[in-house]
Symmetry: C2
Subunit: 299 residues, 2 copies
């Protein structure tokens, strides 16, 4: 199986769980439709897959089922952030994954509430990993704290705030751009790996390695995203290509050029791979290939 096929197969497992996770919760019909419209709009399910893979590498394949609600919660958080980022007051994007963005399909109020709802349900799912699935409560709580920090105002939410301050501002230095990306997209990807290690009962060295791996692929992922916005087309991206430049956004290609951007992404993947040394088996193989695949997308 190619890495693309492996990823699709794992994503399908997450998809099945996501499809059921909002049912029978007393959510008003239109709000539920709006939440599911975005949550079930496809995507690589990268963050849940990372949680599951790190958990399985350290805790064995049987941990999969118990970790799933927690893994799914990361997709809820990721989805809510996309819905809110697309709002007219934010990036004002009409398209997302090739379909009308949430506020275009429904309305602005519903989109705000759908995001709020997904964020809140996410924490319910996390607690279910212990209460329903029996993972030790102290591990789950520790993972909740890691995720709340990563997704919160000192992480993803703060990164979006800084990104908005940067937009239209000329000459944002590379260091500041890196800091913003580390918060906006890096923190959640890092937390995905870290939470997988914590939930599996990994020791401090494992958790450090998971964090190091996550940070490195997070940076690479963002650089690749910037590069794709330049070299790809709207159909492939599922959102308007060239929108970063049109919005006056600081990007890696704009700051250091296209070729150096690709090189830099590759260097970060090399760093990521060093954090997998000492592990073995199927999950190590999967995580290595996944890391390389992130960069291969631009070639």
């Amino acid at each position: 199986m190619t890495i693309k096929e492996q990823l699709a197969r794992r994503a399908a497992g997450v998809e099945t769980y996501l499809t059921g996770c909002l049912k029978d919760r007393g959510i008003p019909e239109r709000l539920l439709a709006s939440m599911e419209y975005s949550l079930l709009a496809g995507g690589k399910r990268l963050r849940p897959v990372l949680v599951l893979s790190w958990a399985k590498m350290l805790g064995g394949p049987d941990i999969d089922d118990a970790v799933m609600p927690f893994a799914a919660s990361l997709e809820c958080i990721h989805t809510y952030s996309l819905i809110h980022d697309d709002l007219p007051a934010m990036d004002d994007d009409d398209l997302r994954r090739g379909k009308p963005s949430n506020h275009k399909q429904f309305d602005e109020a519903t989109a705000i509430l759908a995001g709020d709802g997904l964020l809140t349900e996410a924490f319910g799912l996390m607690s279910a990993a212990s209460i329903v699935k029996g993972l030790p409560a102290d591990r789950v709580l520790r993972a909740i704290l890691v995720l709340a920090k990563a997704a919160g105002a000192g992480g993803m939410v703060g990164g979006q705030a800084v990104d908005m301050e940067f937009t239209g501002r000329d000459g944002v230095p590379l260091e500041e751009l890196r800091g913003m990306h580390a918060m906006k997209t890096g923190a959640l990807i890092t937390a995905a790996c870290e939470c997988g290690a914590i939930l599996a009962g990994g020791n401090e060295t494992d958790v450090d390695k998971a964090r190091g791996f996550g940070k490195a692929i997070g940076v690479a992922f963002q650089i690749v995203d910037d590069v794709l916005d330049v070299v790809s087309d709207t159909e492939t991206l599922g959102k308007p290509a060239g929108s970063d430049e049109a919005m006056g956004k600081s990007t890696y290609p704009a700051l250091i050029g296209l070729e150096r951007s690709k090189e830099l992404a590759g260097e970060h993947i090399d760093t990521a791979l060093t954090h997998l040394s000492g592990y073995q088996g199927e999950e190590k193989g999967f995580l290595s290939e996944l890391a390389r695949y992130i960069v291969d997308r631009v070639y």
Copy 2:
């Protein structure tokens, strides 16, 4: 001490904790200013006070310190809901607690992100009640699940969605109005009492009584809010009086009249008090007086 003084004294303790709880978390300056602008804008701190009082009634006064981060998290959730409800796409309110609402003082994007940030930090604070303060992890996780359900799309967020559907619609039946309020404001007040009982290690009977008490005062609280919107003035309310009527909102006074609304609120307080039978001491006295005070505000 009058109940008003007791309430103010307890609110001051919560205030002190809230003032420090967002510091040193790497939150970008303007976003932090926006979050604290709304979080520290005063208010009765009713929800945290309820968590603390139920926890102390069942767990003794020494539990106060350990429960505080969890109690504070309810104020973060309440505050985020006010910020998002005030947005132009929602209730479009320019005033909140006598000051410009968050998006008026800052901007719409910042207000959305401040709300998202407060909601996310809230769950970090909840986990800290165990990780930093040593409460048993399984109790804290159970309380997190209760709160996520109450605040989420099947609770508070869903209630706001239904409220928006009701706005401008004529002849919403009382039963549907009750259902909406039970979600929009009742769920979080109920969860406050329930979480206090859970965190203190109360048994199932205690948790049921806490839930019953919370539900009853929640309904009374909402009726009183509707009544105050009719009988009070803008200065006292800190928001435009009569705005419910202007927005075409279904309210208790509009549906059953002012006098019957006041009576009904009183009946719910009587129900609340029955759930305190069997308890004793200072906290029972406080909770009883607090329940009566909710209704006394309209006389």
